[in-house]
């Protein structure tokens, strides 16, 4: 664990001096979780990839702002989450929203569960979706999740609890029946 942390610190130091390879080594393991966070928040794979791409460029440009002792993962996911919020505010997003969720599955089985989950997630706010993803898929501790979301730990806990209660209304009724 110490070795990993020290290796990460080395990469951060090198990347901050403009070492491109070090930056790639640093950010690569976090790109997939970043994309999954973005697609959870935005619901559109193309928009999610754009958000991750933009966030990665921002991370590259502003790496010197990362304070010593801060987890790179938390910092990077915060940049991604902020980028998703920013994407969501654009006019183009409102156009996309008009097109989405027209593909209701006809099949039964796992796809329906996926669709139910998506519908349940869509009933949440974007930040609630992010909280559920980070907590239950990425297994982030509440403190780190709170940092990424920019709220207190107790606020994060309440957010997750609220989100689950609302999701359970849909998932339990549809899936467990």
């Amino acid at each position: 664990m110490d070795f990993v942390a020290s290796r990460t610190d080395d990469l951060i130091r090198q990347a901050a001096t403009g070492d491109q390879l070090a930056f790639k080594g640093l950010v690569r393991p976090h790109l997939r979780p970043a994309f999954q966070l973005a697609v959870t928040m935005l619901g559109e794979p193309e928009a999610a990839e754009d958000a991750v791409q933009e966030a990665t460029l921002k991370a590259w440009r502003h790496l010197h702002r990362l304070r010593a002792g801060t987890s790179f993962r938390s910092w990077f996911l915060t940049v991604v989450a902020n980028q998703c919020r920013s994407e969501r505010r654009t006019a183009w997003w409102r156009v996309l929203r008009g097109l989405e969720r027209l593909d209701t599955p006809q099949a039964t089985g796992p796809e329906v569960l996926d669709w139910d989950l998506e519908q349940a997630l869509l009933s949440l706010s974007m930040d609630e979706r992010a909280a559920v993803f980070l907590r239950f898929y990425e297994d982030l501790p509440l403190q780190e999740l709170a940092r990424i979301q920019g709220i207190s730990v107790s606020g994060t806990h309440s957010r997750i609890r609220r989100a689950l209660e609302r999701m359970r209304l849909r998932i339990d009724l549809e899936v467990d029946r």
């Binding site: 901050a16 001096t17 403009g18 491109q20 930056f23 790639k24 950010v27 690569r28 790109l31 997939r32 994309f35 999954q36 697609v39 959870t40 794979p45 193309e46 928009a47 999610a48 990839e49 754009d50 991750v52 791409q53 933009e54 990665t56 460029l57 921002k58 590259w60 440009r61 502003h62 010197h64 654009t90 006019a91 183009w92 097109l99 027209l102 593909d103 796992p110 796809e111 569960l113 996926d114 989950l117 998506e118 559920v132 993803f133 907590r135 239950f136 898929y137 997750i160 609890r161 689950l164 999701m167 359970r168 998932i171 899936v175």
Partner: protein, 230 residues
């Protein structure tokens, strides 16, 4: 209560990411843009070293001092009670903003950090602004910067080819990178499968993702090729 949901949610997330949101090649696409921008010497906003800051402040002080001296000597040489020529604008001291080759436009690049304020005459008392290196990025084109139009289309060899034209509608240069996301829908708005692949196909050569600078008013052509049903 929360723990009860963990496994169910994890499984469902996993399936969704594996099936619908697999996004193969994501890492390579994302990192290739970073590499491209870095190779072009763009986008790296590094803090300047202490020595550079001191040099910069000294230069500002010297230039400012020279300007004040020039102005004083001009006032002395002017005839008493005469009218000072006001047509010539007073030169702006070369502050940190002058070392940033941002395209001259009224719209500031969205990527740039807050522009540095004008140099303070008392640098010791004022907070030192975060300096940035001269290689400031040309901003990426935002959606609102672009106008999208259908270009020409043609069919042949079982393919339907369509071009799209992106035009930069802003007064500043911005850049595009890689391929735009695209989805084909039928008349009722349902997505057609398979999902489009980004890369070369059909009538369009396979060009690896690269940066395209769009000057104000210029355009860039993107093509799509779809196999026609037999």
């Amino acid at each position: 209560m929360i723990e009860d949901d963990r496994e169910k949610l994890r499984t469902a997330f996993e399936r969704a990411y594996r099936n619908r949101y697999a996004c193969p090649g994501l890492e390579e696409r994302v990192l290739s843009e970073v590499a491209d921008q870095a190779d072009r010497g763009r986008g790296r906003l590094e803090p300047l070293g202490f020595a550079t800051i001191v040099t910069l402040l000294l230069a500002i002080a010297i230039v400012g001092g020279m300007l004040i001296l020039a102005q004083l000597s001009q006032q002395r040489s002017a005839p008493a009670g005469g009218v000072q020529p006001s047509a010539a604008p007073s030169p702006t001291p070369a502050g940190p903003a002058a070392v940033i080759p941002v395209p001259t436009s009224s719209a500031p690049p969205s990527e740039s950090p807050t522009p540095n304020p004008a140099p303070s005459p008392t640098p010791n008392s004022a907070p030192i602004p975060t300096p940035i290196a001269p290689a400031v990025a040309i901003p990426r084109c935002d959606v609102q910067d672009l106008n999208l139009q259908l270009g020409g289309s043609w069919a042949g060899l079982g393919q339907l080819n369509q071009t799209f034209v992106f035009t930069n509608t802003t007064p500043h240069t911005c850049y595009l990178f890689g391929y735009p996301g695209m989805r084909f829908l039928d008349r009722s708005g349902r997505p057609l499968t398979p999902d489009p692949q980004r890369g070369g196909a059909g009538a369009f050569p396979d060009i690896s993702p690269r940066t395209v600078d769009l000057a104000p008013g210029t355009w860039h052509l993107v093509g799509s090729s779809r196999e026609l049903p037999r």
